[in-house]
């Protein structure tokens, strides 16, 4: 395979849901690419299409509810949108793995964690059960579950949330995937455990060379783990930049709003002992079931002009590997 061909290349992906209230354009023309071993963060509010983008890549959108209506997904040079069901199942959990948000409920309560790890190994590598159980112990050790020889026989209810998320990571990495999609992997965990899990993921990524697509609404997570960040709004990409560049120089008013909406410890400029109030972004995400004229963010944007309301801004390249879709990019207070 060509050395600099991206591992994953998504082009103009569109995934629509057909509901009684009309067509919901959950993902509407998203492009992204991911190199081998790279970590890409996807951030945005709830309902902006982050998870649907991820699920679409693995074709996990429930049939009958939604459908990929356009675009292409190329992974290791293969087009995923046209693979047969059997071929895509072969890929899932093997070349591309996924970690979900809810560690408390993402493990089957009636199977031991060892069986759940080994099952994936047996399914995708053709190893025997005995071998696979050895692999399960090895994986539990890798994700630092203490006493893995004993834990491998535990049921999920015997483990804490943090331990279960470690097990989920063990399952996801058990077949050495090239791409790991983590859909808000730390949202359900408390802060100290979040830090441990993120640290573990970064460390394992360095050890195994797996590329990670980190879906989150937490800019802190992005800052700690990602190399590149993509900001989504209303089913579209609005900004993309290397992580340092994005935090130093956010251009899209939405990205700036997200940054202002984070609690910070250092903004105590007047020494008054009081931190400024958090600034929320006014309004809510627009309904996606009718066409949006102009920029989807315009109704909530302080900088919006008549042009923003009439015409949709396309992604433009800026210096520093920065892409942004906004007519007023970089204007106003940062």
């Amino acid at each position: 395979m060509a050395g600099d061909a991206p591992l994953l290349e998504v082009r103009d992906l569109a995934c629509h849901f057909f509901t009684l209230d009309g067509v919901v354009r959950a993902v509407d023309g998203v492009s992204l690419s991911l190199a081998r071993g790279e970590t890409l963060g996807i951030v945005g509010e709830s309902g902006c299409g982050k998870s649907v983008t991820a699920l679409s890549i693995l074709r996990l959108i429930q049939k009958g509810a939604g459908r990929i209506v356009g675009g292409s997904v190329r992974f290791e040079g293969r087009e995923l949108t046209t693979l047969s069901d059997e071929e895509i199942k072969e890929l899932r959990g093997h070349r591309i793995s996924m970690i979900f948000q809810e560690p408390m409920t993402s493990l089957n309560p009636v199977l031991t964690v060892g069986v759940q790890i080994a099952e994936n190994v047996v399914r995708h590598t053709g190893a025997g059960w005995r071998e696979a159980m050895d692999r399960a112990v090895e994986m539990l050790r890798l994700v630092r579950v203490p006493d893995p020889e004993r834990r491998v026989h535990d049921y999920p209810h015997q483990l804490s949330g943090g331990m279960r998320q470690r097990v989920m990571i063990a399952i996801a990495l058990s077949c050495d995937p090239q791409l790991l999609i983590a859909d808000e992997p730390t949202t359900a965990l408390d802060v100290t455990i979040q830090a441990q899990i993120l640290e573990l993921m970064v460390e394992l990524k360095e050890k195994t060379g797996t590329a990670i697509m980190m879906i989150t609404h937490d800019l802190g997570v992005v800052a700690e783990t990602c190399q590149r960040v993509m900001v989504m709004y209303a089913g579209r990409k609005v900004e993309e930049a290397p992580v340092g560049e994005l935090f130093a120089n956010p251009l899209h008013p939405y990205t700036r709003g997200l940054m202002r909406a984070r609690p910070r410890l250092d903004e105590d400029a007047e020494g008054s002992g009081r931190r400024p109030r958090l600034q929320e972004i006014p309004g809510i995400v627009p309904a996606l079931n009718r066409p949006i004229a102009g920029c989807a963010f315009a109704p909530r944007c302080a900088l919006a002009t008549d042009r923003c309301r009439a015409e949709r801004p396309e992604l433009e390249e800026r210096p520093g590997g920065h892409l942004v879709a906004c007519f007023e990019a970089g204007k106003g207070v940062p």
Partner: protein, 294 residues
């Protein structure tokens, strides 16, 4: 070897089952123990029937309609047959019918229910058939099925199984539908699990607890239905004593010989009570959520 102190400091304590003697178990689960003991005694009686009781079919016109005595513990019927021997042997029919119906209906219903919960097309067709079966009162459906064939124990069992299947299908289907939305099933699908394995290893074991509970109720209702069918004369053939046909035959002599219908009636009530208590206890223990819902 990792130290015994967990790396993360969040480890749940090792979940060792606390030592639990039979006495503690009995105190916490009185219904399971009482129901279980009742069933054990009745199963024991049924198994030992040929040794603890005489011939249930032996006619002795000399001894007809004798009240309970030392020789005939439960008295005799209008043909002089020993009601004790007949009742003890009748337990066999009730238990065989109860267990067979529960097992057969559960297995068939489970298979259909799993497919219904998983495949929309199967669901659309199979559930309409189930609606159709449920629209007919089960005893009438059973009578119709029996009259189509020759009477016999297995025909009776089949005739009771068919009307019971929809109950299991509906239960299994509803559990499968709610399981399908569970993240761990989505996770299994995202891991590339093939459909047969997904159904058998991931979904099926999670449906067993409510299914076991439901099948005990089906056993109880099957025992009653069999007695009802035998009472109506379409159940097991008259040469096999069953509580239903003992009562049916004794009813014309009720005023002279009440024991010939009271005693099998009491046994029937006790057996159904035992099965239901066992089911209630299992329900409380296996599925506390279901207990609140039902």
């Amino acid at each position: 070897m990792p130290s015994s102190i967990p790396a993360s400091g969040t480890e749940a304590p090792a979940a060792e089952a606390p030592p639990q003697g039979p006495w503690t178990f009995a105190r916490r689960n009185p219904t399971i123990v009482i129901g279980g003991l009742l069933m054990l005694v009745l199963v024991g009686i049924a198994l030992a029937a040929p040794w603890i009781a005489g011939d249930p079919l032996k006619l002795a016109p000399v001894n007809r309609l004798r009240p309970p005595s030392e020789r005939f513990w439960f008295g005799t019927d209008q043909f002089g047959r020993d009601v004790y021997a007949r009742t003890v042997h009748g337990a066999r029919v009730s238990l065989v019918v109860g267990f067979s119906v529960a097992i057969a209906a559960s297995l068939i219903g489970l298979a259909i229910g799993l497919l219904c919960g998983f495949y929309r097309t199967v669901d659309a067709i199979a559930m309409r058939i189930m609606d159709g079966i449920m629209a007919i009162p089960s005893i009438l459906l059973a009578i119709a099925l029996i009259t189509l064939t020759r009477p016999g124990l297995w025909v009776v069992i089949a005739a009771i199984v068919i009307p019971e299947i929809p109950r299991i299908v509906r239960l299994t289907r509803s559990v499968v539908l709610s399981l399908r939305a569970q993240p761990f099933i989505e996770a299994a699908i995202a891991g590339g699990t093939r459909t047969p394995r997904l159904l058998l290893r991931h979904i099926l074991p999670n449906t067993l607890a409510p299914l076991i509970v439901q099948s005990t109720y089906i056993a109880a209702s099957a025992i009653l239905t069999e007695a009802g069918l035998s009472f109506l004369g379409v159940g097991v053939p008259p040469e096999i004593p069953s509580w239903g046909n003992i009562i049916a035959q004794g009813r014309s002599f009720f005023l002279i010989a009440p024991w010939s219908i009271l005693i099998p009636g009491v046994f029937l009530a006790v057996m159904v009570l035992g099965v239901n208590m066992l089911g209630d206890g299992l329900r409380d223990r296996l599925d506390p959520r279901l207990a609140r819902r039902m």
